[in-house]
Symmetry: C2
Subunit: 375 residues, 2 copies
Amino acid sequence: MLVSVGLAAAFAPSRTASFANGNHMMRSATRMSTVESIDTSAAADDVLEDLLAGCGGPEGSMRRKMAEGLRKKQLAITDLVSAADGEMFQEDAWTRPKGGGGITRVLPGGNVWEKAGVALSVVTGTMPYQTFMTANPAAAKRAAENGLTNSENGEIEYFATGLSCVMHPRNPMAPTMHFNYRYFETDLDGIWWFGGGSDLTPSYLFEEDVQAFHGAYKSVCDKYDPEFYPRFKKWADEYFYIKHRGETRGLGGIFFDDLNDREPDELYNFAMDCLTEIGPAYVPIVVKHKDDEFTTKQKEWQQMRRGRYVEFNLVYDRGTIFGLKAGGRIESILMSLPETARWEYNHKVEEGSAEADILDAFKNPRDWLGVLESA
Amino acid sequence: MLVSVGLAAAFAPSRTASFANGNHMMRSATRMSTVESIDTSAAADDVLEDLLAGCGGPEGSMRRKMAEGLRKKQLAITDLVSAADGEMFQEDAWTRPKGGGGITRVLPGGNVWEKAGVALSVVTGTMPYQTFMTANPAAAKRAAENGLTNSENGEIEYFATGLSCVMHPRNPMAPTMHFNYRYFETDLDGIWWFGGGSDLTPSYLFEEDVQAFHGAYKSVCDKYDPEFYPRFKKWADEYFYIKHRGETRGLGGIFFDDLNDREPDELYNFAMDCLTEIGPAYVPIVVKHKDDEFTTKQKEWQQMRRGRYVEFNLVYDRGTIFGLKAGGRIESILMSLPETARWEYNHKVEEGSAEADILDAFKNPRDWLGVLESA
């Protein structure tokens, strides 16, 4: 499994990397391997053009095609969310001297969403072979089997582009949503892959919403492979698992990584279709619940679930951890954290309550569509 | 450096450990290596007696002496805080079948403190030699140099007792405080050590408070060794460092680990004196500020600093990470998290503001007492 990009930024070429924008000054790290980043005020589309020229590959290459496709989807989803919220996204574009950068769109303090962010990144660099093996053991194994590397001490050149998103609504009846789609390429012949997923994290369970969300992604999956939905649904349940709590972070969706078992164009189309679906699959659920009545206790439960979100992202999310330790653009990496969160000592849910119901679903992932084989 | 105990619990003998109380039933983990813990309703002092009988060593041993000393200090500090707050601590005692347990005292939702917790743990177990080397490389090196182990694949038997504490006050002008004192012993001859520290995490800087806190600990240190304060002050600044932010968590205090360069009794006395000092050094600062006026913006700044506290504890605190991954009593480990926290995208402090002032001190640790040698 690989980085939840936004974080591709994290694959900085060196531990003392410093970031700068394309046409302003550069500040260096204050101490140790900390990184200070600077946002550019340059127009985002100029930045994207620079990024593509610098590391996007030739016309018609998958590098360029994917980055351009992700940028279009970034605009589409933020337009939809902005229309539903009534507030605009702010946009920060950034580049770094050694290759690549990104465009981050954030809606902080909206009417409907307390925090919504969609981050595009387009990055090139090198990484030690050891890091590659940790990041994607399966791909590293493929490379070794094909005799593509003799030295485990060498450096791998890579290109990564990804679009990652987290949206936290205000109303506790409206779910948080996360997605992430990415394309990764190395300089080893044939060693490339797609990864991604979309998942839903409600604080209260409205079964019809969860079924609709899963149903929408099953339809997208089925267009490509009837095995995709069952496989990727289970993968999401396994990946978004908070081990120390014995709970999943939310109610899942789909998650996949290291996908390269068919033509790149087909996988590109699959990723694009998944991204097209996120608007219709998610926004109506939030619109439906944005004005639901709720109590202080229900708000507190949402805040505690936000606390779990923080725990997952800081303790388990590979991309976040790698990004934080290796030095990426912190504000783009931690954009995923909620505006507010809560921890109560030894909190117990009341038996038979709505909180107990959804907690059971976090502890025992359900087959929302009744289509998985029983074990 | 070693575990911030409470977490000694985390040194569970196996990854599928399950916890139980002394005289009730045991529930096993739901799946993977998750642990469900059960609090006992048994009287805490009975539990302590059981713990000491089970793993505390004979009368007069340092194991027993330290555990008993820490328990007395737990009662003393919680009494003091309770008197200042007006609310009582609740107490949970727990044991685990394979040896050890603890007594956790928490004041959730007090008048002055939003969350205050003091956790005692007394644990025995075995750990792989590799874990020992990671936990305390210096001690592992000492052991190897003394020919105490020939096999790097063997298991080390250990005993650990510690008292850890975090207190988060409501008023943003009143500082958070953390301390942790612990004693660790292995079955390798002469391989034991003391560790600990007390540190202050304010959201707003009142220089006289910080000087008083550091001054109190300098006095305790000076009783034992004039080198202690300069050395342990710097160690705290290095340890409580949030690398990805380029900031310390708070304004420090003292921190030390792997201390075994003098008689155990002297180090025990030092730890006890540090614990005696925490009441007079901390509680008056909170009492002084508990009714200070503050604005919504100031409360939000406090909440953002709480967010940094969460980041440190979940990303860097070795004890927390080890505890979460290995499976300890989650509620005792995460007792350290604040009740509420906040993350704002790309937040910037205003130049010349009080927030900018303390942020500067987080980025460039200061010599509060003017006693450190300049580099």
